[in-house]
């Protein structure tokens, strides 16, 4: 079963040279396979800065055989270097500490984040108690192992993948960062043991703008969970009451990938969640009173997604016009889907949604042949790989090569990219809220970890400025509570925003 649902990928600047490198995850043969066993591992590619990447996995410390699923990138010990947490379908997760010089050290056991005995999926770093240290939320899927595998049959009597409804769910786990490289499993005390599990996607957001990070879990055939941060180390599940748990028919969808973003420049994060073919993706628009509405049909998401099976996805402003667009990676679960649904295909083209300000238009057909070439896609992430200001895209494929798509021409508009460096807050600034005003445009973005499906995009925040040649104001509210204000910023550059060191007029 896990082989149909992986792998993910990440952009990670592991050597701190300012250029996003690539981490690709891979599955593995089952443990009982001996003859002809492929010793697969993750792959780390260094961005050489000249349009090329070099495989630097050998000697990196990452060459461990594992059935990898998801990845989260974050500097959990605030040493200025990005560390990696990788979940696995079989066997424990892996925490790799970035030692510098291109080398990682596995520290899973001493850190206490094995997530042992669970099928880990997406994961994210989040400083949920705002103590300046990144904690870790790990999604788990269901109670499946090769030994408990149920033999489901298709209509022709051939063995096929069961739906997850056949198996019980495994709730997510929350690990609190105790400092000194150690974590503590606080799932129970945080009130998360009752969750239904079958989580495939995780996103962090502050949906009620109370300054504390909340968590949304996209669950497969189970209601999605919106975990409200109660400010005391516990979370309260409010997805049902908030209106993000289910489709408007009152039934759960097959939640896969997820992202949160301010699609309507209201200052509030809405949610996009991909799902199974025939369901249509969910767009839960944040209405500002702790209520969301399923706005997929009204915003133009529902109809184009009806015949797609979506996985990795993210909001990003690909044309830098100041409105968050969206990309969804698609590909069916069943290799033989066309046998039963001839109008569906295993490989599917991604969907690119352009945000007009009031709704999305699906525009993939006019954005390059490489974008719409069908792929059995799973993971998806973005970063500016060539330093030109616009965002490029990485897609992973099931049983196939990944696809790296360079955005050419996205930077016709002006832009500002902001790299946050926390001082009192966590070093990455994960959880910081950035509000930018440029002319009539006011945009709100957040520094995040997680989102998409099993994947991690770069943490730098990219603002599209449209035709504006000046940023009137940029306000950063840090997880520590520190508020930094910048005024009159010049566009088309990367701003390194160090907590507490803003200079008006910079």
């Amino acid at each position: 079963m896990p082989e149909s649902e992986s792998p993910g990928c990440a952009f990670v600047d592991f050597d701190g040279d300012g250029r996003p490198d690539i981490l690709l995850l891979n599955g593995a043969d089952w443990p009982e396979v001996k003859a002809g066993r492929q010793h697969t591992r993750v792959a780390l590619y260094h961005n050489d800065g000249n349009g090329k990447f070099t495989d630097v996995t050998r000697g990196s410390g990452l060459e461990i055989e594992m059935h990898a699923m998801g990845v989260a990138v974050g500097d959990y010990d605030n040493d200025g270097r990005e560390d990696l947490y990788i979940t696995c379908a079989l066997g424990p997760s892996h925490l790799f500490h970035n030692e510098g010089n291109g080398h990682f050290k596995e520290v899973t056991q001493q850190a206490g984040v094995e997530n042992a005995g669970h099928w880990g999926t997406s994961c994210a770093w989040v400083d949920y108690d705002r103590d300046g240290k990144l904690d870790l939320i790990v999604g788990n899927y269901c109670k499946w192992t090769p030994a408990t595998d149920v033999a489901c049959k298709d209509k022709d009597g051939k063995k096929t993948y069961c739906t997850p409804t056949v198996y019980g769910g495994e709730p997510s786990r929350l690990y609190h960062n105790e400092g000194h490289g150690r974590f503590r499993d606080v799932t129970r005390s945080a009130g998360l043991t009752h969750l239904p599990g079958k989580t495939l996607g995780i996103t962090i957001l502050d949906y009620d703008d109370d300054g504390w990070p909340d968590i949304v879990l996209a669950n497969d055939t189970e209601p999605n969970c919106l975990l409200h941060n109660e400010h005391n180390g516990t979370f309260k599940e409010v997805g049902l009451a908030a209106g993000v748990a289910l489709a408007d028919t009152g039934t759960p969808r097959a939640g896969m990938g997820i992202d949160a973003g301010d699609i309507d420049n209201s200052g509030r994060p809405s949610l996009l969640i991909s799902s199974f073919s025939g369901e249509g993706f969910s767009l839960f628009q944040n209405q500002g009173n702790s209520l969301f509405r399923d706005a997929g049909a009204d915003w133009g998401i529902h109809a184009p997604s009806l015949q797609r099976m979506g996985w990795g996805l993210f909001f990003f402003d690909y044309d830098l016009d100041g409105h968050l667009d969206a990309l969804v990676a698609n590909g069916h679960l069943y290799a033989e889907v066309a046998r039963f649904h001839p109008d569906l295909t295993y490989a599917e083209a991604p969907l690119l949604f352009h945000n007009t300000g009031a709704r999305f238009e699906e525009v993939s057909a006019s954005h390059g042949a490489d974008l719409i070439r069908p792929l059995v896609a799973r993971g998806a992430a973005y970063a500016d790989i060539d330093g030109d200001g616009d965002l490029d895209v990485l897609l992973t494929a099931n049983d196939g090569a990944p696809r790296l798509l360079r955005n050419d021409g996205g930077n016709r508009n002006h832009w500002l990219r902001v790299k946050t460096v926390g001082v009192k807050s966590n070093r990455d600034g994960i959880g910081a809220k950035l509000v930018l005003e440029a002319g009539a445009l006011k945009q709100t973005r957040w520094v995040t970890s997680g989102s998409s499906y099993l994947s991690a995009s770069e943490q730098i925040v990219t603002f599209g400025l449209g035709a504006a040649t000046n940023v009137d104001r940029l306000t950063i509210t840090w997880p520590s509570g520190q508020v930094d204000r910048y005024t009159h910023l010049k566009p088309d550059r990367v701003l390194i925003a160090r907590e507490g060191m803003s200079k008006v007029g910079e």
Partner: protein, 422 residues
């Protein structure tokens, strides 16, 4: 030998089943078939299916009963009586009679055919399939039997067989419109859109009523999220039959789901037209309720969702929309109460599924059944509790546990608040 003819619809799937489940009815010596019409020998009766207008129904039935009794080895005589009962609102009796005829005259294709078509109409394709397939094997020259055999297979998701029987019908009668419509449905579910479309075109060339073909076409385009073609096809269906609630409901879906919210008002109007024709259709009430929610007409939406819950076979999921509609309408307590009920529904569904799985795995395990009854009682699902108890065999009913639970269930079966989930 009896002759049978198609006369009318009996059932609820008119949109899709044109000509497929019309019962064969006795009309004296004359008979009409879909493709070869013979005038009846006497004026048509106003009574449904009754072709013997010169007598009262009681007299006619008494006469048919006598004929059947006098000719115990004549399946046709017994069939006349069974079909008379079927057409005079005595369906359970007709079912028993047809089962008896089928058992007594296993070689009678007509008896198998009639029994199968009755089961199809009653919504029991699994019971319809065996007699219909037997009839189809014996009467390979009768297209209408092949078509019904195809329909039974289609309903059982046996698409390859459905296609085979539909093709067999077309071999006998190349102009059988119903067979083409069925083929289109088969391809719509298990084939390509192009195959389905081609079959619909063949249907449209032959059918006296094109509406079901256009409706199917519209559904196909709707599934492909092709709003323009879906609307075009459906407008053609409505031109032929503007009094079909299903057509208006689909128009509502097309307007509401495929037009980025720009035609929400038209969707609401279409759902209202559908409800004028099908006032008790819970799905349309629910669709209208959700469309009204999208338009932020909270009070009106709440009303529609409540109506939907009254007749929905499984009202549980509707509690979610109802709760949110109430919350947004400012009825916070009621909204929270509905959402709490929804949560209870979820817990009940999850727990009952686990127990039903245990019962399925070990049908003799009465403890699981009793646990399910207790669960049903806890969630006030008394009908389900009684059904679970009734499924226990006579031995089990002597147990103290069964009798105690039965008493609890019967006591609880007095009118109660809250919806039955299943």
């Amino acid at each position: 030998m009896l002759r049978f003819c198609y006369q009318r619809f009996w059932g609820t799937e008119k949109a899709f089943l044109l000509g497929l489940i019309a019962f064969p009815v006795l009309v004296g010596s004359g008979c009409r078939t879909p493709n070869a019409v013979s005038p009846p020998s006497s004026p048509p009766s106003t009574a449904p299916g009754n072709a013997l207008p010169s007598h009262s129904a009681e007299e006619t039935r008494a006469r048919l009963a006598v004929q059947a009794e006098l000719a115990p080895e004549d399946p046709d005589a017994a069939l006349r009586l069974a079909l008379f009962d079927r057409d005079h609102d005595a369906v359970p009796q007709a079912e028993q009679e047809l089962k008896a005829i089928h058992a007594h005259f296993p070689a009678s294709a007509e008896a198998s055919y009639q029994l199968g078509s009755l089961y199809l109409n009653l919504g029991h394709p699994e019971e319809a399939a065996a007699p219909l397939l037997a009839a189809a094997a014996r009467e390979q020259g009768r297209a209408e039997i092949q078509v019904l055999a195809a329909l039974a297979c289609f309903r059982l998701d046996r698409s390859a067989e459905a296609e085979r029987y539909a093709r067999a019908a077309l071999k006998v009668d190349p102009n059988n419109a119903a067979a083409y419509l069925l083929l289109a449905r088969v391809y719509s579910s298990h084939g390509t859109a192009a195959q389905s479309q081609a079959a619909i075109q063949e249907y449209l060339k032959r059918a006296s009523d094109p509406a079901p073909g256009y409706y199917l076409l519209a559904r196909m385009y709707y599934r492909q999220a092709d709003a323009a073609n879906a609307e075009r096809a459906l407008q053609r269906a409505l031109q032929s039959d503007a009094d079909n609630g299903d057509y208006w409901a689909l128009l509502g879906h097309i307007y509401g789901d495929l037009n980025n919210g720009a035609r929400l008002t038209e969707a609401i109007t279409a759902y209202k037209k559908a409800l004028a024709l099908k006032p008790h259709d819970s799905e349309v009430h629910a669709s209208l309720g959700r469309a009204l929610m999208r338009g932020q007409h909270w009070e009106e939406a709440t009303g529609e969702l409540r109506l939907a819950m009254q007749s929905a076979p499984d009202p549980g999921p509707l509690l979610y929309s109802l709760g949110h509609s109430l919350l947004r309408a400012g009825h916070s307590d009621e909204g929270r109460s509905a959402l709490n009920q929804y949560q209870a529904y979820q817990e009940y569904i999850r727990s009952s599924a686990r127990l039903k799985g245990a019962i399925k795995a070990n049908p003799q395990d009465r403890e699981s059944r009793y646990a399910l009854v207790r669960l049903c009682l806890r969630y006030h699902q008394y009908g389900a509790a009684r059904a679970t108890l009734n499924a226990v065999g006579p031995l089990g009913r002597k147990e103290t546990a069964w009798q105690k639970l039965n008493k609890e269930v019967e006591t609880a079966l007095s009118p109660h608040d809250g919806p039955d989930f299943q």
